[in-house]
Symmetry: C2
Subunit: 249 residues, 2 copies
């Protein structure tokens, strides 16, 4: 079985090397080509589309373009697995744009080169077999498990609902705090050290991922609104307090 | 040497037990009295004030009242050590309200029962000997070090400036996210798990500590203003993005 990876951004490079621990892996990247990855052959588009399985690791916002390019060229019996950080939007695009004979599994590996730097053991991957024979779904479920991942079967809609208020909030807070240019300090409490780790980790990811996460998740706007209300609530509490007579300040 | 602790809230109870690993410790609490602590005798106010050293572990906002009560009663050669989470304000109050013969050391143990639950080894304590013989300052510096703490000598002003943008930010974010009632999810990324830990840890502390931290630190208001601007910047970025034509959403 030939496994291919489309897109060698930060996550694609990481994921291709993880897959290469199990399979012969080829990978294609549209722009930058001089990439060296352990166990991965960098190939042309024409070779990539001969693969039995293609993992899509491109930005969410370029998915339409990528699928439009892949659709007429992939094998009729190919399996396409996306790895986008939102799921409702890719689900619809893949179902709409890929030929009916092509199998589709939606996944979201809930980690990256930072959280997976010491290995992916125990890290979660969400999976929704949208259109494929059951044995294909079982095969990949077991493969991910054998890589040490915790496989979460879940609908794309449920994923987006929960991810907006977990991964989405985390990235929002990370980017927000990055604006403050927080410094290391000897006074760092355990909590502050964790906060700096969150800022570093979320801002290591490309800005495009942040923007796409917040834009293409149908539940993100409600989360922003909730977050904005929360800030106002706390600031109002402190302002009310500042209005109180305060002889000592 | 008799060591006393004034105030047995969440931090006072923890700190009294830590000190009791080194010294015979007595402790006084104004309201609730039926407290049992390992190695600590709960005493009346009249006995507390006979101590050579008194650690103040009360809320920042009640410090004026506590010092006013202690001032006429403590030993002339007593040493008062406060443990407040802000330092400029307690410094001024202690210098103003305590008799000149009384020695004063300002400290901020940068931890609590959560971060110190597995012991205080390696955790930081800030210290500024405001008014005391050098040997007293050296003695306590060495004592804290022998407890495994990392002693940071720093002015009260520098403490508040740095703490507003470290501990202060952490507590603000923790309380803000608590408003969102975030849930555990199987989809939790490593970053999100850290975020939940911050929420839990900051909200385990009394609300009064949060309010005092944000109110009595002269640099906190600037931090709030910076945080508010950061949120607006990110939301504006996302709004501009939402305005863009977006065929796929």
């Amino acid at each position: 079985m030939k496994v291919g990876v489309y897109g060698l951004g930060r996550f694609g490079r990481f994921w291709a090397e993880q897959l290469a621990l199990r399979f012969p892996v080829v990978a294609y990247n549209r722009s930058k080509r001089d990439i060296e990855l352990k166990g991965v052959d960098i190939v042309e588009f024409e070779y990539l589309v001969t693969c039995d399985v293609i993992f899509i690791c491109t930005a969410i916002s370029s998915l339409r373009e990528v699928l439009t390019r892949l659709a007429p060229s992939v094998r009729k019996d190919a399996l396409i697995i996306d790895t986008c950080s939102v799921k409702v939007y890719p689900k619809r695009l893949m179902q709409d744009l890929l030929p009916e004979s092509v199998s589709i599994i939606a996944t979201h590996p809930m980690f990256g080169p930072d959280s997976g730097k010491d290995g992916v053991q125990g890290l979660p991957i969400m999976m929704d077999p949208l259109r494929c024979p059951q044995e294909t779904s079982v095969y990949w479920s077991e493969t991910f498990r054998s890589m040490g991942l915790e496989v979460l079967h879940m609908s794309c809609d449920q994923h987006d609902r929960e991810a907006a208020y977990s991964q989405g909030v985390t990235h929002f807070v990370g980017r927000m705090l990055d604006e403050l240019k927080l410094q290391k300090t000897q006074l760092a409490t355990v909590g502050y050290i964790k906060l700096l780790e969150i800022v570093e980790q979320t801002c290591n990811d490309p800005l495009q991922l942040f923007l796409d996460l917040q834009r293409y998740n149908p539940y993100a706007q409600q989360m922003h609104s909730d977050l904005n209300s929360a800030i106002s609530t706390i600031l109002a509490l402190l302002t009310r307090m500042d209005d109180a007579p305060m002889e000592d300040l």
